[in-house]
């Protein structure tokens, strides 16, 4: 009972004190509120930038953990026959229950544009590649297994190429002429966005369609396909060894398989490529908060000296030293908590502005919601800052000599 009444009483005292001195409190808390808003916003935006960066990394090198698999003859350096390797790869994927896998080949195709024939970069993949690499689409859709059955190959072109052919509506099933022997017509099913620097036509095609159009010297020219598997990160090390041994064994004597991680988390071992960003964001936020806390501490210290008489009067009513300490501390904590709440709210509203999100997310696929960690960091920091800023004034308040204070 005593604990409950003590706590509630201290909060009531703190709230009354804040209400009475609202101008002073408001002035002292403007800094804290802004600091908390900045801290929360920075933490939240840090999360958004991180998401954007993560997705960029994942587009480039695949989502963790992405195993890159190839095989070769250590004596001659030759790659195994494509069909044999495909079979060995498929068998390994099935054996270890790996649901996402893809072949990846790079090459060039001649394409017919309205103003003539030109070369286009081709990335040939399996349908899983889109998920494994978070391929982003500006329009249309990614490949499905049914696209494998098409006689006219499905292609996904970049925005630059799509604009070159007049940006036709995908609902009208636009096509792309592929001259050659034999020539064929591809159907455009999707469009990938082109950054401003992307001024070269490129397209994705399914590996089966790519192989069907491969000329005899193409594999020599562009190399054999790479094989990729997306596995749970916690199993990556174990599966690396197993898949390597499995494919090597399937290919038979004289062949060796090589399996390695290529996703961004594997680039530097334990190195977190986002660490510099996190450190910078954390440093700025900490500095902002420190300045806010110093401002609050100064005002709290000055204020408590003006209240010595009042503290003496309260002691004469039976307020214990502990209660005075807690009440003065609570004033600071309640005030900064409220300021923190306002700051967090401001941060949430700011982060919802389209202009802020677009700038920071840079077209990230998974737009992260306002992170709860940022809210917790904001409110938690506000409370800690309130407690720290209230500590010194509370100590001063406890040391007040009741007799002297009442006589003031």
């Amino acid at each position: 009972m005593r604990l409950v009444t003590g706590f509630v009483g201290a909060v009531v005292e703190a709230w009354t004190e804040l209400r009475i001195h609202r101008t002073r409190v408001l002035l002292s808390l403007v800094g804290v509120g802004i600091a908390i808003a900045a801290l929360t916003l920075v933490a939240a935006l840090g999360g958004m930038v991180q998401q954007s960066q993560t997705e960029t990394f994942e587009r480039q090198s695949g989502r963790p953990a992405l195993l890159s698999i190839n095989a070769y003859n250590p004596t001659t350096g030759d790659a195994p026959d494509a069909a044999t390797m495909r079979q060995a790869f498929a068998a390994a994927m099935e054996r270890y229950g790996i649901d996402y896998s893809s072949r990846v080949s790079y090459g060039q195709w001649r394409i017919q544009l309205p103003d003539g024939v030109t070369d286009a970069s081709v990335t040939a993949v399996d349908a899983d590649y889109g998920t494994m690499h978070r391929v982003q689409l500006a329009q249309g859709r990614w490949f499905t297994d049914r696209d494998e059955l098409r006689l006219a190959p499905a292609v996904i072109v970049n925005e630059y190429l799509w604009n070159r052919i007049g940006a036709p509506a995908l609902a009208s099933h636009p096509t792309l002429e592929l001259p050659g022997d034999p020539g064929t017509t591809a159907v455009i099913v999707g469009v990938t966005p082109s950054p401003v620097y992307d001024e070269w036509p490129s397209l994705y095609v399914l590996e089966t369609a790519y192989e069907a159009r491969q000329a005899p010297g193409d594999q020599q020219l562009y190399g054999p396909p790479n094989y990729e598997a997306w596995v749970p990160p916690e199993l990556a090390d174990q599966l690396t060894g197993l898949v390597q041994a499995d494919i090597g064994g399937s290919l038979g004597e004289g062949w060796e398989a090589s399996v390695s991680r290529q996703d961004y988390l594997a680039w530097g071992g334990d190195y977190d490529p986002l660490l510099p960003l996190k450190l910078m964001v954390g440093g700025v936020a900490g500095l902002i908060l420190l300045l806010g806390a110093l401002g609050l501490l100064t005002i709290s210290l000055v204020t408590v000296r003006y209240r010595i008489r009042e503290i003496g009067i309260r002691r004469s009513f039976g307020a214990t030293g502990g209660r005075v300490f807690f009440a003065v501390m609570m004033e600071s904590v309640v005030a900064t908590f409220v300021a923190g709440g306002v700051g967090v709210l401001a941060a949430v509203l700011l982060s919802r502005l389209d202009v802020v999100r677009e700038y920071l997310l840079q077209g990230a696929q998974d737009t992260p919601p306002f992170p709860w960690e940022a809210v917790a960091i904001g409110l938690g920091s506000a409370t800690v800052v309130g407690a720290l800023a209230g500590l010194l004034p509370a100590l001063v308040a406890v040391r007040v000599k009741v007799i002297d204070a009442i006589r003031l």
Partner: protein, 235 residues
């Protein structure tokens, strides 16, 4: 059983030149429940120091002080603070109302330190007490909106709201004119009597002192009983 007992209590302080100043000397006093006594003395006679001792705000340097037969030295820190809050009500010369708070909030403030039902019913109890001192229509007035007499009545309500057994009034009419002071003292005397609390009034005003049933004079730290026509010699 005496509510408050002082046995040879003395209070001295050491001055910067290391000499000792004796403020109170060998004071013996017993206060019973329902007592009303006055202590008269000139400025510097040690009245405030004695009040601080009686209010458990200070400790004697010699002698013993008992509250409810419990020696003061057994009441330490928070326990002494809690005993003071529960059993002693202070009325100050300068009212000492908390600025920026209404009369109701001022009177409810001591109940913030209660740990019984009084804590949860503090606003109602405070309003009732203000009614008793005739300020039922000024519940939401701030100290600056009240006259001196009204402020002292708020202070009286605040001192009594927790139902103390001892009321210590330090120059309760010192900041009031004679007429208002008389009315306030009559009210205080009346309410203290109704509640059964002991009332100790420290004053330099003979008119205020005359309302008490027992009279003491404090002179150079020595407390002596004073005989009056109505009571005879008191001790």
């Amino acid at each position: 059983m005496a509510l408050l007992r002082l046995d040879g209590v003395a209070r001295s302080v050491q001055l910067p030149d290391l000499t000792t100043l004796e403020i109170l000397r060998s004071i013996d006093l017993e206060v019973e429940v329902g007592d009303h006594l006055s202590i008269v003395g000139r400025s510097g006679s040690g009245k405030s120091t004695l009040l601080n001792l009686l209010g458990l705000l200070d400790a004697p340097t010699a002698g013993r002080l008992f509250f409810d037969d419990v020696p003061l030295e057994r009441l330490r820190g928070a326990a002494r603070d809690r005993r003071r809050g529960r059993d002693i009500g202070f009325i100050f010369q300068q009212f000492n109302l908390l600025p920026g708070r209404t009369a109701l909030e001022n009177v409810a403030t001591p109940l913030l330190y209660a740990h019984d039902r009084g804590f949860w019913r503090r606003e109602r109890l405070a309003a009732e007490m203000l009614e008793r001192v005739g300020l039922g229509d000024r519940l939401h007035s701030f100290p600056t909106q009240l006259s001196g007499g009204e402020q002292q009545r708020v202070a009286i309500a605040r001192a009594l709201v927790r139902g103390p057994r001892l009321i210590l009034a330090d120059e309760p009419t010192g900041a009031l004119d004679v007429e208002t002071g008389a009315r306030v003292m009559a009210l205080l005397d009346d309410i203290a009597e109704q509640s059964g609390a002991a009332l100790i009034t420290i004053t330099h005003d003979p008119n205020v002192a005359s309302l008490a049933r027992r009279h003491y004079r404090l002179d150079q730290g020595v407390l002596t009983a004073v005989a009056t026509a109505s009571t005879g010699v008191t001790a």
